[in-house]
């Protein structure tokens, strides 16, 4: 039967060794698509196919990008966005870990506070920006609070799940060796929860950048979010796209750095996960 298949579909076999299929299989195919799309963007303007003030050529966006990236005003603009993002992210993550652990180990805390938390969780974060402006103004306090709130939930819920899934046999091992309860929490509960905390924090990191930019679009006159909206009003599409490109590269780099940190801290969990899947 196998012989028959081989002889009836010779092209299936031969494809494997052809140059075309090697390109399909390589990791470069996806990057090639990005290059093709960017080229199409440039050509759409330089050939005159698309004529619009809101659709600048890639080359002029890149010029604006290089110009902006080397200027001090862009550095402080991105710096201020990153500062608020980082403060909010750290604040939300730490709070999330504390609340997640509390909810996990004390069931009455969970019973009393969970419904309140659930209501807050389902509220879209940008919706509470206007009411919070009354309380906190339009500056860093507001934006850091909003980012922290957004970063809090993924970490808290993941930590809670992590605390609950600790292997009961691990705890029995601690019992049979007569390890005191507090030490057992530190040496078993904490490390087995860590992969969950990291997973939550990685989601929160992405959300933090998004929410930091959104708050700047909604309130105040600082940061990348404000800049993008201003450039839109000013019809300076090239500067607008340049800032957006930097933002997406920034998001990518932050995520990669976080994954590296995660791999360093919980290598064992990654290996086990790979083995199970």
């Amino acid at each position: 039967m196998q012989c028959l298949l081989v002889s009836r579909f010779p092209h299936v076999i031969s494809l494997k060794s052809s140059r075309r299929s090697r390109l399909y299989d390589s990791g470069w195919t996806g990057i090639l698509l990005v290059v093709v799309l960017l080229a199409a963007w440039e050509l759409s303007v330089s050939t005159g196919t698309v004529r619009s003030d809101s659709w600048p050529a890639l080359s002029s966006v890149l010029t604006a990008l290089v110009h902006g990236a080397t200027s001090e005003s862009w550095a402080s603009m991105f710096g201020s966005t990153l500062y608020r993002m980082t403060c909010g992210f750290l604040l939300g993550t730490v709070l999330g870990i504390v609340v997640g652990v509390l909810f996990g180990v004390a069931s009455y805390v969970n019973r009393v506070l969970m419904p309140t938390l659930e209501i807050f969780r389902t509220t879209p974060i940008p919706a509470i920006v206007p009411p919070l402006i009354f309380l906190l103004g339009v500056d860093d306090e507001l934006k850091i609070t909003i980012v922290a709130l957004a970063a809090f939930f993924p970490v808290a819920l993941n930590t809670l799940a992590g605390v609950r899934q600790v292997d009961p046999i691990h705890l029995q091992v601690a019992q049979t060796f007569r390890v005191p309860r507090l030490k057992a929490i530190l040496r078993i509960q904490l490390p087995s929860t860590l992969p969950y905390v990291f997973a939550g924090a990685r989601i929160s990191l992405g959300i933090s950048l998004i929410v930091a930019v959104v708050t700047e679009m909604l309130a105040g006159s600082e940061g990348v979010g404000y800049f993008i909206v201003s450039m839109e009003y000013a019809m300076r599409a090239d500067d607008m796209y340049a800032a957006i490109i930097i933002l997406s590269v920034l998001g990518y780099v932050l995520n990669r750095l976080f994954v590296l940190l995660e791999a360093k801290c919980i290598r064992w969990a990654r290996v086990l996960h790979l083995r199970l899947t």
């Binding site: 046999i169 005191p180 064992w268």
Partner: protein, 270 residues
Amino acid sequence: MKAPAAPLSPGRRESDLLVIKGVSKTYGSAAQGVMAIRTVDLTVRAGEFMSIVGPSGCGKSTLLQIAAGLLPATVGEVQLGGTKVTSPPEGMVCLFQQYSRSLFPWLTVEDNVRFAFDHHASLDRGKTGERCRRYLEMVGLADFRRNYPWELSGGMQQRVAIARALAAEPRILLLDEPFSSVDALTRLELHGLIVDIWSRTGVTILLVTHDVDEAVFLSDRIALLTKRPSVLAKLFENKLPRPRDPVSSGEDPDFLSLRHELLSRVLDPR
């Protein structure tokens, strides 16, 4: 400094180390619950290797967990060296069936072993390292102390778990089907290892297993439990001479007759 031995209660002999007295276990409520163990009385003597065998689901693991102080008995009590067991007592360690779940994946082999004792000793790290190495050497894994458990094979992981149990330096080891999740050849290797450790250290061993051959090959005495709700069906003295050999001991008439009786009663429990 050792505390003076507790005065012997009436009927207790010096050699009786672990005494299971009228232990009964019912899961759930008394009226609607499932009775796992009706009543079991059993005494493990100091230095002996005893096995508990019985049909699947007969409550032998439950009995071991009660003996280990990990599970309360519904009725009756367990005494270790004359003292009632209410939580895992000093001088006793339980070795669990699933090595992959009992070892900590975030700790190296050496740190896993260190976990057994470093919480109640103000020892410096050099000394604890020496103690870890001593027990890892005993199971033949001294060269793997910097590896993580998941980098080792199943049999090696169970060796680490054995080294960790020994590192607590217990008087009695409770083994809950510790060889059931490794392949047949590895199991024979581990049998040799555990007998070697037992004779070298003088530790008392109580083993729960569903493998009749294993029980006969390893132990001095074998307690046979009935199906649920369990009672002690019979206590066997194992006359198979030591040292035992995995190849030739299996052909010994003593081995065969004991195996015959145990296996037929496990398969047809009354």
